[in-house]
Amino acid sequence: MNDELVIEARGLGRRFGKLTAVDGVDLEVRQGEVFGFLGPNGAGKSTLIRMLVGLLPPSEGSVRVLTYELPLQAERLRSKVGYMTQKFSLYEDLSIEENLRFAAEIFGLTRSERQRRCEEILVEYDLAERRDQRPATLSGGWKQRLALAVANIHRPRLLVLDEPTAGVDPDRRRSFWEKIFEIASQGATVLVSTHYMDEAVRCHRLCMLIRGRPVAVGSPAALTAALADRVIEIETRDATAAIAELRSLPEVSSATQLGDRVHVLLARDTQVAQTMAPRIEEHLLNAGHEGSTAQSAQPTLEDVFVALNLGEKLIEAAA
């Protein structure tokens, strides 16, 4: 047995009636990692996470978390895991402190531990001044903070966060992620799902999900490296028309708008981006897109997603 492995899943899948929500997930998460699940809404992130914390029995496959076999030993796993649900799930009619104390009691902290830990956490999460406030009166960002505090009340070895920053402003998201890394640096393993690329890129490793299937697993650097020399970034005035133009080229596998730029993914067997960029620029200028520029660019996770959506296999490449 490898005790470095916090999560070990084999062929994990879950169906709801005819719908397959998650299919064929093989996963190994190591001690101390910040491991991300990245995917669009409905990709099966929450279902997968619920199976990994033992809240949902899998339809197939096996999963072992912190040496506990799930779903059989799910109850024994609970006290080792901190789980923050996607939707705020604490009591709106109890104060911040009462929520913390309830969690501390239910996670089995003794009376003196409870007292000490609650005070400690109130200070650590800047909640001390608001201890008597009810969550109903808190903004989204403060609610996330409280939820994270509650998930950490028993110092879990594994922290599982299901889209913790959905709908939170960028500043708050940044400070939230700093907190996540702080927790990981103290030895906990963190599992976090997101659909924000800028968050995903910070994870040590990622599992990208499309329609319930894991399509790539690896560090963000390894995943983007798999597309090296295949991405060209284009600046042009009429992006929509340019995209239509670009898609007609046989060397172009896809053209997508990212912010105010257009990213072109070159087909696998064509020449490298440095060579192709001037030709594409010329083509655009000839087609009447004046002032357009094309340069080879560093692939981003968005490009990886585009490639994966086209059915490219990157798992081997990134492993």
Binding site: S89, L90, I106, T110
Partner: protein, 387 residues
């Protein structure tokens, strides 16, 4: 800070759930009001609706004799305080119409030959027609009429004896005969009879609904997902959810008994311990049923609907509304399956007849059986899982 010894973890978790539940309950004014308000309001409404017409029944008089004797008789009627004469009408049909319209509850009919019969000393027929929609009123009229009848007969006999002693023998003993006809509802009950049963009805409505809602609410608000992610065992959760409501059930019993005693002098003839044991079984049966309902429903609306699906037969078939033995056999079979049926028998027995638990073992057994079945169902259906 207290210096009590640390409880073992399972008890610690149960106590956490119980205290959380109570705290939420107190904060939720509507529910807290429900707990205290429902028994008082229901009892007062039911009790007074039955009780208030014991006196001052609106009465129409059909005085076909219209003599000084008949007027003296009407005076006697008023003196009983049971009857308030609000109308004098000429014909029986007119009086019947008032009765049907609900303008009066009682019609007293004095026949044309009333005075003649009085002086002859032959039977004087006075008929009372009562709207027994409210059975207590009918019973009160019957009792009052009986009382008046025997009083007048006593006076009559005394009068006759006086005449006898004076030597005039031509006037024999006057015999009053009152007939009381109850309309619309021939079976009669009193508040004393209703309150013990009402105790069960109140507990049924509040207990089932409150446990069911307390869990379904967590599911609806999303807090259930937090709860099931914690180490609290499902049995600990079930117990923690039930215990506060056991306490609340007993608070309600105290309220109902106190209100019943104060307002309607409903006696407590049997032992309070017996009542406590019977109530514990009954509350337990309702709470576990609430757990089952919460396990098979997804939202508060469904839970409420399912609870009402159970309330209606409970109220109708338990012997609260209709005398149990007068119901058709299939209704009785169904009624036997309901905990309220057995609890009503027990409370009536204990409170009114002073029956001991020993004589109520079959009813206690039925409640225990129901409790075991619902507990088995709750154990099977109550899961720590998300949809």
């Amino acid at each position: 800070m207290s210096y009590l010894p640390e409880l073992p973890a399972p008890l610690r978790r149960i106590s956490a759930v119980v205290r959380k539940e109570l705290r939420q309950l107190i904060r939720d004014r509507l529910t807290a009001g429900f707990v205290i308000g429902v028994p008082i309001v229901q009892l007062t409404l039911f009790g007074y609706a039955i009780n208030q017409d014991m006196r001052h029944a609106r009465t129409a008089v059909v005085d076909q004799a219209n003599s000084s004797i008949s007027r003296q008789f009407v005076g006697e009627l008023v003196a009983t305080q049971t009857f308030d004469i609000v109308r004098y009408v000429a014909t029986k049909d007119e009086a019947r119409r008032l009765l049907q319209a609900g303008e009066v509850s009682v019609v007293v009919q004095i026949p044309p030959d009333f005075s003649r019969d009085f002086f002859r000393g032959s039977g004087m027929e006075v008929s009372f027609i009562v709207d027994a929609t409210d059975p207590t009123l009918a019973r009160a009229v019957r009792a009052s009429a009986n009382g008046l009848e025997s009083r007048l007969n006593q006076i009559g006999r005394h009068f006759a004896r006086t005449r006898e002693s004076l030597g005039s023998e031509d006037i024999p003993e006057a015999a009053w005969r009152f007939s009381v006809l109850t309309l619309y509802n021939p079976e009669l009950r009193t508040p004393v009879f209703v309150v013990p049963a009402l105790l069960g009805v109140i507990l049924t409505t509040t207990m089932i609904l409150m446990t069911a809602l307390s869990i379904v609410r967590e599911r609806e608000r999303g807090t259930f997902e937090f709860l099931i992610g914690t180490p609290v065992h499902r049995f600990e959760l079930m117990i923690g959810k039930i215990l506060p409501y056991v306490a609340i059930g007993f608070v309600q019993i105290v309220i109902v008994l106190a209100t019943g005693l104060l307002l309607f002098s409903v006696p407590v003839r049997g032992s309070l311990v017996s009542l406590g044991v019977a109530s514990l079984l009954f509350i337990g049966a309702n709470l576990t049923l609430g757990l089952v309902i919460s396990s098979v429903t997804m939202n508060q609306l469904q839970a409420t609907q399912l609870s009402f699906f159970f309330f209606l037969p409970s109220v109708l078939l338990s012997g609260f509304m209709f005398p149990f033995n007068a119901m058709p056999a299939p209704a009785q079979w169904l009624g036997q399956l309901l905990p309220l049926t057995h609890y009503v028998r027990m409370t009536r027995g204990i409170l009114l007849r002073g029956t001991g638990l020993g004589d109520l073992l079959p009813e206690a057994g039925a409640l225990i059986a129901f409790l075991i079945v619902t507990l088995a169902m709750a154990t099977r259906f109550f899961k720590k899982e998300v949809g």
